[in-house]
Subunit: 236 residues, 2 copies
DNA sequence: ACAAAAGTGTTTGGAGTACACCCATGA
DNA sequence: TCATGGGTGTACTCCAAACACTTTTGT
């Protein structure tokens, strides 16, 4: 009897998946529709799963993302674990879990990850019938979220902002493969909550050796077309 | 039947406790002596514990430290969870756990914390008979450590170094209440693995408004006595 | 021709780094 | 008086920030 597909109902992983649509930071959330007595209850939750017994934590997070999006090689980073005993005290959440997992659920400690994906990739959301959507970070505060997912998103956002600070490389996980300096600046300003000066920003970027100019420009824009760049990690 | 004192044998916390003796960074480790067949096996482990069912993770870590040192109000910060299924695969570790906890032990995910304490405080180590000691960070690599504790210490060290960078306040958790600028510089250089210029360091410190000079100087030193300073968070 | 965004240099202030000598104290 | 660490100032470099006009292209 192998542990391979046996769930461990004490530990889960949850992923705060960020994307950037050119304007705002977005998070991937899964819609939950719960039939209760004679009402339909509706809220949102983070993509996540309890772990398999044979699985390392990173593997479990990676599995969640692959199952959800069909993508491999997504940037993933563990940032915090949440274990307040009350986080699974809402009967609605426990019932829902027991129904979905077919397991008796007690207390669950969750290990939270952030993930970064290019929002333009056409995603195959395999969350069997339930709907998965991008939501603006700014709207999340006012939303109905399962478990302690509101807190997890808040912490995940703070974490990834800080990571971008010390590892600006990560910005390129959110941009299309070919991008303009304006797009990069817009993303940079969104995550840093700043409004950079155009000239100073150009100067900064030319010092990032891994941002390389292409012999291409934008097409189909109603104004002067901008030069396209790519990210090349090989350039140190 | 309350959950209060019921252990949850699936999740543990481990604390990487740092101290500074004026020369080097030290970690607190607990010695383990295991009688095996006709040999006595000896190694070291981090202070830690499986959690109670009623406990939040931070509470559990805090409990571990209070039980171990008798101190309250220790700086504590969760930094990473470790859940490789193989981390509890050494039969020696499992046996030891089952003997100490009187519970059937399977896979355990551990949530790791770093703690900072003033090494000069005379500590009451209550680890019933087993010996608890400070070890130089540099010597840890060559030591025999239980579970994956070698890895946890390495990650904890990297984490806290980074935290010191962005929150220099934390340095004062490791210094005596009254300290000299040399002591501070020595700690700073140990943490940053640098060798600061004395004059430039003084200049830097005078800009840290929360380091305030006292009307006192060192006593009993065989050379010119240095001025003493204290850390005062109230000064912004 | 006009609307809309692209692209481009110079100046200034603050922070970090390099560097050497005299001072106070105890033994 | 000597050995040991304490304490102090100046000059240079580099990076971040402020700031405005011309160019290109589609409509």
């Amino acid at each position: 009897m192998s542990d391979d597909k046996i769930y461990n109902p004490h530990i889960s992983v949850d992923c705060v998946v960020f994307g950037f649509d050119g304007e705002a930071l977005k998070v991937l959330l899964i819609e939950r529709n719960i039939q209760e007595q004679n009402e339909l209850y509706n809220d949102k939750k983070l993509p996540g799963s309890i772990i398999f017994n044979s699985e390392d934590l990173d593997e479990a997070a990676s599995r969640v993302l692959t199952e959800l999006t069909g993508l491999k090689n997504i940037y993933l980073s563990q940032f915090q674990s949440f274990g307040n005993p009350k986080r699974t005290s809402n009967p609605r959440d426990v019932l829902w879990l027991e129904r979905t997992t077919q397991l008796k659920i007690g207390r669950i400690v969750t290990v939270a990850y952030v993930a970064l994906i290019k929002i333009n990739r056409k995603l195959v959301f395999n969350a069997d019938g339930t709907s998965v959507n991008w939501y603006d970070i700014k709207d999340v505060a006012g939303m109905n979220l399962a478990f302690d997912h509101a807190e997890i998103i808040k912490k995940g956002l703070a974490y990834i902002r800080h990571r971008f600070d010390i590892e600006p490389n990560l910005l390129f996980e959110l941009l299309p493969r070919k991008f303009t300096i304006s797009q990069l600046r817009s993303l940079y300003d969104t995550v840093h909550q700043t409004r950079s000066d155009v000239r100073n920003f150009q100067k900064k970027i030319t010092q990032w050796s891994y941002v390389v100019a292409l012999d291409e420009i934008e097409i189909g824009v109603p104004h002067r077309a901008a030069r396209l760049y790519k990210f090349d990690i090989k350039n140190k």
